[in-house]
């Protein structure tokens, strides 16, 4: 395939990635970008070119051991999720932006330890990046069929490296706060993870089912070859030990590799995403390994032994003339290279700027400058680091032209990175681990690695048949780099891993026990080790004593965050702790808060340096630290309890208040009712008493008058009796104690009975009562009660129409489900403002003194209760103007 075609494809592919990155950056909140799948897939940045090409190579040469790199993460999965969750929580709380930040935070924000971690990471990852570029270059050559370019200006890999550096600089350094998420970059990594897996599976299926007749076919052919046993099984106990160490090694790598820490911790947007990742990521690794062994066997069977087995995936389709498939494999490999290089460069550049350059060289300069320039400087430091890392790795690869397989350089990187493991993992669970111990462990472990792995590696490359490896330094056999202290049964990588870990852990433990570390170290150790119990203390989890002025701290913050962000952050802080913004002296909480604020921009160690340069700190003894922390914890717990209690009390008192209000209202209604009843009873009683008194005292009263008085007494007594009956009736009805005696009755008959009942009354006042002629309708109701309603309505009407021309009409209307009874008169009608109240018992107008109740004042109230007991309704028609119109509605 012609070079320019491949270059066009590469350029097209990179442009696509740029477009996707920009798109995702703009939509960082959308559900397409912010979701657990993107997180889980971005973790697959773990699978670099080493996985994509190298595992086939190792499967071809050493059999199943390629699996260890992937089995480690899969086997240790439950532990991984558990530990990762904790790390993510702590990192979010303290704005951790890299693994160097995390480890230096654990050991008291010491800049030396952050720098050491950074150096270790750079040493491990730099050649690893070079290896990725080598893979791109070699696959490009295989695909184009050309040999290696002589000049870098004609080497396509150089341009790819430059483009990658631009990509990282563009998406990775938009803000100075390195703990902020970069959604565009993460999204492209996730997309690439999908592409590389799909392409790899396609080539796997192609090899297994197109070139061969399935897995059994390959197996039967390969098993016929010599030396097959060696490739498919563990020959001895040593090989099994090797397996376990390799699994442990890859387990460490999944936490400690800067790019893994970047995607799994720094770029994590939600802790809940871990759940999805806990099964998607191992499943991804499994899928990636399904065809590895078959591709390796197929390569062995079909290709010449001289070809590099790392690139069997590429050679196989090309050898069969399938150029398009070859191009696809190349793109898959390129994807895995891009994501690895991009994320690694981003992570390392952050570490270099925040943990190396700023705390050791720049801090003074930054201290004297304005926020805009500072932000620009920090960004520039990172951008320069990115270019140096990537372009430097390119030159490293070109100049040293490492004649090594992808797999071995990858493993060396793993062993070097693993030196951080004791400080990282033990420090996570053991609060005694101290900074000096961590540093000593890392340095000693690294030296051992250098001696047992890197040194012989280099001498092997440059000096053929070195006596160092064969005989040991100065002929001391015990110090032979590959067989230290006589341990001769392990392959070099396992051997180096074993001895470096032994020394590393030993020094870490011994120094931790011997040297306690200062109070600050212990303070941070407590925060990390007991993260769950100190988490809610937040700024209170930090012990600090000394003299500090808010204005000084403020100035320091403004230098990095700018006026606006600083003011906003401080206002939040003041509100959170209810502190007077006018307060001049800063307390421990503000000091800690400010350190955290700066951590994202300049790293934890620099933040500490920055803040301590503006405050005067006094040392606190270790027991004091622990005591203060304990006290703060207790205070928070007590506060919480008090808050809960006062909340409960408030709720209870609200409920009491409501209940009391209801009672008061009920009481008021009862009083009102009794008042009205008393008043209603008093009027006829007064009348009876007055008449009786006069009759009693006056014997010579004319008989006519006497009869008149006696008649009044009888009427008033009737009125009293009716009143009492009605009161009792109403109380019974409104309490729901009266049971309706419902039977089937003819509505027409009942209406006629009601009209007959008021006949005498109507006759006396010469009022006409008309009933519409209606067909007989049968309904279920209590006839006595319904009759009472009708009679009440009719006698009210008779009372209010004028005699002689008064007319009362009764009509019936049927609807689908109800029957309407309409009582109409041409009397004086009901005032608009009274309509709402006429069905209340003892209804009286707003001004109590003005209107006396008509009749007993309870007729309509009783009627309403009766109708409601029949699930019907009674209302007055507000639009009827020629008199009063009542509408009774009953269900059919």
């Amino acid at each position: 395939m012609a070079s320019y075609v491949i270059i066009l494809v590469i350029v097209g592919y990179l442009s696509l990635l740029f477009a996707i990155g920009i798109w995702a950056d703009r939509r960082s909140k959308s559900k397409w970008v912010h979701n657990p799948w993107v997180y889980a897939l971005s973790l697959a940045v773990y699978c670099s070119a080493w996985t994509y090409y190298g595992s086939v190579g190792i499967a071809a040469t050493s059999g199943v051991s390629f699996l260890t790199t992937y089995l480690g993460p899969i086997i240790a999965l439950p532990l991984w999720i558990l530990v990762l969750k904790r790390i993510v929580v702590i990192s979010k709380q303290y704005q951790v932006a890299s693994i160097a930040d995390f480890i230096s935070l654990r050991y008291g924000n010491k800049r030396s330890i952050g720098a050491l971690v950074t150096i270790i990471c750079v040493i491990a990852v730099f050649p690893y990046i070079a290896l990725q570029l080598k893979a791109v270059s070699e696959t490009f050559d295989i695909l184009s069929g050309s040999s290696k370019s002589v000049s870098i200006f004609t080497d396509s890999t150089f341009y790819i490296a430059v483009l990658l550096a631009v990509f990282v600089a563009l998406f990775g350094t938009q803000t100075t706060d390195a703990s902020r998420r970069r959604s565009g970059l993460v999204f492209t990594v996730a997309v690439e993870s999908v592409l590389k897996l799909v392409f790899f599976l396609i080539i796997g299926v192609y090899v297994t089912f197109y070139l061969f007749d399935g897995t059994t076919d390959i197996y039967s052919q390969i098993s016929a070859l010599d030396g097959f046993e060696k490739l498919a099984t563990f020959s001895n106990i040593e090989a099994s030990i090797n397996w376990y160490f390799m699994i442990a090694l890859s387990f460490f790598a999944i936490f400690l590799l800067p790019r893994q820490f970047q995607v799994s911790v720094v770029e994590n947007t939600s802790i809940s995403h871990l759940k999805k990742a806990s099964w998607v990521f191992p499943l991804y690794l499994l899928l990636f390994n399904v065809f590895v062994i078959f591709i390796a066997w197929a390569g062995k069977l079909l290709l010449s032994g001289e070809l590099n087995p790392d690139y069997y995936t590429l050679y196989l389709p090309l050898a069969h003339g399938h150029k398009f498939l070859g191009l696809m494999v190349f793109l898959g490999g390129l994807s895995s290279v891009i994501s690895m290089v991009v994320v690694s460069a981003l992570a390392l550049s952050t570490m270099i700027s925040n943990n190396l350059i700023i705390p050791y060289g720049f801090i003074k300069a930054l201290n004297d400058s304005d926020p805009k320039r500072n932000a620009q400087r920090i960004k520039n430091v990172r951008r320069v680091s990115i270019f140096i890392l990537i372009i430097g790795a390119y030159f490293f690869y070109v100049n040293f032209n490492i004649e090594l397989s992808l797999f071995s350089i990858g493993l060396i990187a793993f062993v070097i990175i693993a030196q951080l493991a004791p400080a990282f993992f033990i420090g996570l669970f053991w609060n005694r681990g101290s900074a000096i111990a961590a540093k000593t462990g890392i340095i000693v472990g690294s030296l051992v690695t250098f001696y047992t792995l890197v040194l012989p590696f280099i001498t092997e490359v440059f000096v053929d048949g070195s006596s160092l490896i064969k005989n040991g330094p100065a002929g001391i056999a015990l110090l032979k780099p590959y067989e230290l202290f006589g341990v001769d049964f392990m392959p070099p990588v396992t051997h180096a891993f074993f001895w470096s870990m032994v020394f590393n852990v030993m020094f870490y433990l011994v120094f931790s026990v011997l040297q306690k570390g200062d109070y600050r170290e212990r303070n941070y150790a407590e925060l990390v080790v007991n993260a769950s119990s100190y988490g809610e203390l937040q700024e209170n989890a930090f012990v600090w004593r000394g003299e500090a002025y808010v204005s000084e701290i403020r100035k320091a913050l403004i230098r990095f965050l700018g006026e606006k962000r600083t003011t906003r952050a401080l206002n939040l802080f003041y509100r959170k702790y209810d502190i007077d913004p006018q307060e001049e002296k800063a307390d421990a909480r503000l000091v800690n808060f400010s350190e955290k604020l700066l951590t994202g921009s300049i790293g934890a160690a620099s933040a500490k340096l920055m803040i301590s340069s503006v405050v005067k700190e006094q040392p606190v003894s270790l027991p004091e630290v622990l005591k203060i922390l304990e006290e703060n914890k207790e205070t928070i717990t007590i506060n919480k309890q008090l808050q809960q209690q006062s909340h409960d009390l408030k709720r209870l008192s609200d409920r009491l208040k409501n209940a009391n209000q209801a009672l008061v209202e009920k009481d008021r209604q009862k009083d009102e009712f009794l008042d009205t009843v008393a008043h209603e009873l008093k009027t006829p009683t007064a009348s009876i008493r007055a008449a009786s008194e006069i009759l009693f005292d006056d014997d010579d009263m004319p008989v006519e008058l006497k009869k008149k008085f006696l008649d009044n007494i009888v009427n008033d007594s009737d009125r009293l009796a009716a009143l009492i009956t009605n009161i009792l009736d109403l109380e019974k009805l409104s309490n729901g104690r009266e049971v309706m005696d419902k039977k089937q009755h003819s509505l027409r008959d009942t209406l006629h009975k009601a009209v007959d009942g008021v006949y005498q009354l109507a006759l006396k006042k010469q009022v006409k009562v008309d009933i519409d002629e209606i067909e007989s309708i049968n309904l279920y109701y209590d006839e006595d009660r319904i009759l009472q309603v009708f009679t009440n309505l009719l006698s009210n009407s008779i009372k209010f129409v004028s005699s002689k021309d008064g007319v009362i009409k009764v009509k019936i209307q049927l609807t689908d489900t109800t029957v309407l009874m309409i009582f109409e008169d041409n009397g004086k009608g009901i005032p608009q403002e009274d309509m709402e109240f006429i069905f209340d018992k003892f209804y009286q107008s707003n001004n109590q003194n003005v209107k006396k109740p008509m009749g007993s004042g309870m007729g309509l109230a009783i009627s309403r209760h009766i109708i409601e007991s029949h699930h019907g309704s009674i209302k007055v028609d507000p639009d009827f103007v020629n008199g009063a119109r009542f509408i009774v509605e009953l269900k059919k």
Partner: protein, 121 residues
């Protein structure tokens, strides 16, 4: 002859009172509410008014305010006769300028005595 105005909307009570006071030799006038009462007062200038509180249209409290504000009625005595018997009601009636407050039910004899006392004193 001394003039008495009875203001009440209960016809049976009015009938008893009219009989009792006429027998005592008073000239008796009757009104069913405040507005009627004021019309009669303009005309007759009674010596004493017996006033119910709860009446249609203009109530007893409004009526006494109008009586007291008119200098023409300065000499007219006022007795409240009401079913409202709470201490607050009585106090309110007396504060508005009533000379006496009778609660229903009442003794005709005592009312007549009180009237005699007020007018003849």
């Amino acid at each position: 002859m001394k003039k008495i105005l009875i203001v009440d909307d209960e016809p049976n009570i009015v009938m008893s009172l009219e009989y009792a006071f006429k027998k005592q030799g008073y000239s008796v006038f009757i009104a069913r509410d405040g507005s009627e009462a004021l019309v009669i007062m303009e005309r007759e200038i009674p010596d004493l008014v017996i006033l119910d509180v709860m009446m249609p249209q203009v109530d007893g409290y409004e009526t006494i305010k109008m009586i007291k504000s008119n200098p023409a009625f300065a000499k007219a005595k006022v007795i409240f006769l009401s079913a409202k018997s709470k201490a607050a009601d009585i106090e309110k009636g007396l504060k508005l300028g009533a000379d006496q407050y009778f609660t229903k039910p009442f003794s005709v004899k005592k009312l007549v005595t009180a009237v005699d006392h007020l007018i003849r004193a």
